[in-house]
Symmetry: none
Subunit: 226 residues, 2 copies
Amino acid sequence: MKEGPSIAPIAALAGDPARANMLSALLSGMALTVSELAGEAGVTLPTASSHLAKLEAGGLVAGVRQGRHRYFRLADPAVAEMLERILEVAARAGHLRTRPGPGDPQLRKARVCYDHLAGELGVRLFEAMKARKAIRERDGRLELGPKGNALAGELGIDLDTLAAGRRVLCRPCLDWSMRRHHLAGGLGAAILDRVIASGWARRARGSRAVLFSRNGERHFEALLRG
Amino acid sequence: MKEGPSIAPIAALAGDPARANMLSALLSGMALTVSELAGEAGVTLPTASSHLAKLEAGGLVAGVRQGRHRYFRLADPAVAEMLERILEVAARAGHLRTRPGPGDPQLRKARVCYDHLAGELGVRLFEAMKARKAIRERDGRLELGPKGNALAGELGIDLDTLAAGRRVLCRPCLDWSMRRHHLAGGLGAAILDRVIASGWARRARGSRAVLFSRNGERHFEALLRG
DNA sequence: TTCATAGTTCGATCGTAATCGAAGCATGGA
DNA sequence: TCCATGCTTCGATTACGATCGAACTATGAA
């Protein structure tokens, strides 16, 4: 079979766990630095750098320098499409081999996705915010809704300062444990920030899990109800 | 990253050259024996057997015993879809397996894509069908158009039986050699079926190429013109 | 029964690539 | 100018898995 392009080199790039984790992180559409991707993948900086060089050479990601940082994103929508197809096959084959580890239910309930809240609570927050019109979709883009200021106020988030930053305020991020969206972007990050700062929840050490206290969860649920 | 399905194990399966060759061979839609796949991949029988066991465990292929033989096929259209997407990315990145060989023009003209027609003729068919309103796009989805029944009738395809199946009738499939769409789905498969059955073309042995007879091509061209 | 063919299992070998620490650049801020 | 931070390169180590021959099993044919 010496016909056409070959799948092996590309698939092999996505087939290493560290690189796969990086690609998964980039699937959110965010551009991430080498350090952040190293964290996502659970490897050191040199290792991450080496992997990213390979991914870039293979045409899966594209990097741009910005000052001292190097931001990477998926090179192409076709790459994102490919990754989603692989995820689809993985999900189908998954239930044969998924053995939820001990920390897994926690992760499924609430976890950090880069710098914002993901998992069941993240998805529910996203949907509650849409129902409350704190955010809304317009022309396929996510933006602040008429009630956005009110909700930010409840949480003690200064929207003006946030909006002044160059970061996108609201961005949907696909949640692989729920197959639905949660909120990323500056506002998503600020919310997680407040949730932690107000003591509703804390980060688990060495994990992406976000552990809510009983009281914190009550407050959070109240927020969801509006 | 313990969230959701992981792309690494699946991609790694497709990332080994021997396994990738087997998968490419199976992309033709044919069921092949272990020995045949060993030949395709250029490895010995034990090696092929080991690879196929892994592919089967990973849910990428499915094997059935028939006498002394064990026939393998792709487990699922989703797997074929995934492989096509990888090919798409590979083609963009310019990862050609070899320089275009002698059999390449044939492949470029007409070939099997899992179970439907791809290549130049596949793309032209797709576009002719859209022009004739046998198919149309609506809300970003492909569906049967007002003239769909007429065209199916010309080819001797029973649309009712097809529509009763649970398979999607019309689906666009991206063509790596043309960078345009051709027709997949139940109707796409049925058309290739009729093209072969009516003697317009035949499958090349050991390749994905579809070889049209002079007369068959004339008929096919007439079909394109409507 | 005996032989032949198709495929699997086992064990040993061997390459490749992932990994990390340490050192080297480069950029931006003080 | 100096330092801190972000990233890359280098070199050595290590671990995993692809590979094959040989032996074994199963199916079919003579």
